[in-house]
Amino acid sequence: MILLVAEHANGKLSKSTLEMTTVARGMGREGAITLLVLGSNVASVAAQAALFAEQVLVADKPELAQYDAEVWAAAVAQIAREGEAHTILIGGGRSGREYSPRVAVKLDAPLIEDAITLADRNGALVAAHYTFLSRVTETVEAQGPVTVVTIKPGSFPPAQPASAAGEQYDAELDLPQPRLRITGKTAEKSERISLADADLVVSGGRGVESPEGFKQLVEALADQLGAAVGATRAIVDAGWRPYSEQVGQTGKTVQPKAYIAVGISGAVQHLSGMNKSKFIVAINKDANAPIFKIADYGIVGDVHQIIPAMIDELRK
């Protein structure tokens, strides 16, 4: 069995699940492609999953309404054992990357993290992934009968529905009690297009000089271009922007068609979150700023003059 753990929100399968399905189909291993749907009131998700997988295992319980790392790990490991899964694919979001190691330990299996390629080579799974803050591509080979893999979101095209719908089965699970109690939630909200989905990102750093500067320069340019808004760690730390906008090692990783860096110096931790963008544009008054080393187009100048000039020009 090739076991995929479905990710879903608002009754729909996530894009990353469809990307994982592409991986499952193309990696060159035999086995029923099985989507595991965990959650509460997930009938529509299960039905959608059946369009893509050969079989769908559904655990639809109130206890699964809220994600928990220990619960998910127990569920996935149990299904993997019972189904004799040789490959377990999990989405590379925050939750996937934090429960997949637990699954790997439970199954005494190797873990491949954030894979951008995955293929069977003479019975062993070989994958490429980024290391050294996304500056190096490392290829690894897993040994043993079972491998757990997290798939980097956005690295594969989403799968098309299969020609025939798969069977749905109920999954019986022995679930542990979660020990991490959630006492409050802050969700990221924005009317703007999200960093993950945007083709264009306008991002700001300390060079914008103030929260107002960020609004007048970064937000204004982003709105003019219909782009997403990003921020560096420095200004998120300073409280000028919410963490949801942070791009970098400890924030989000983006690969838009164009990334416009406004007043950003280019610390390597920030670069690791955006250096795969197709085009990088940087505006900074410091000619020595490291960002200019990875920019396709750069202006050495005052962002307070250049960005408004760009906005004016775009309005024409």
Partner: protein
Amino acid sequence: MRILTVVRQVLDAEESVNIQEGAVALDGRKLVLDTMDEYGVEEALRLREGAAAGAEVVALAIGPARTEEALRSALAMGADRAILVETETPLDVIAVSAVVAQVAQSEKIDLIFCGGQQADWDSHALGAATAERLQWPQATWTSLLALQGGMLSGKHDVDGGSESFAVPLPAVVTTQQGLNEPRYPTLPNIMKAKRKELRRVPLTEYGVSAKLRVVGVEVQVKQRRKNIIDGKDASAAAATLIDLLRHDAGVIG
């Protein structure tokens, strides 16, 4: 109470990445205690200075002999003692977690800190894998932490936002930026660290087998155009830039 902080020695952010003999060259480069792990050391020290007064802070690293310097940095920040599990061969994170778990058990640890991610293997997994081995709960990407009566509470990042949580000890906590600001080691503390215990143990003391091996390493170099424009005349520069984006790059209509 005893707190374990796991640290890794990585290339300094300033250093460029070059491949030599099938691996990233580290010889002669500046190597530092990873910043994400530093948050862990700092948080452990804060707990010792506050809610967990009297706790012992033990720093642990698994790596080659030179990793001692990273442990010395942790000791210089204020950790009480350190353990270096020496191995010349790089290990994957699942294998490393076996060592961490065994150390945690033999040292009777109540709380483990490690970085949410490190700047060499880019892995997010060490904390979670270790927690599973110990059958402990975990709080990953933690940006705020407090301890009271054996219960940890705080804030951590999840997909699409953040959550406040409470979890009982013993537990594994992985760090997120913003958790604290790591202290510089003061000069007196650098000198005091010289006399703190740093125990070296060979990896062979732990039954660990790696199931993942590295078969290729390549530096990703995307050729950038590096078209630098002088920005003194703001409107001219802006116009040039927009033109390039429109016609050269084709990203705006």
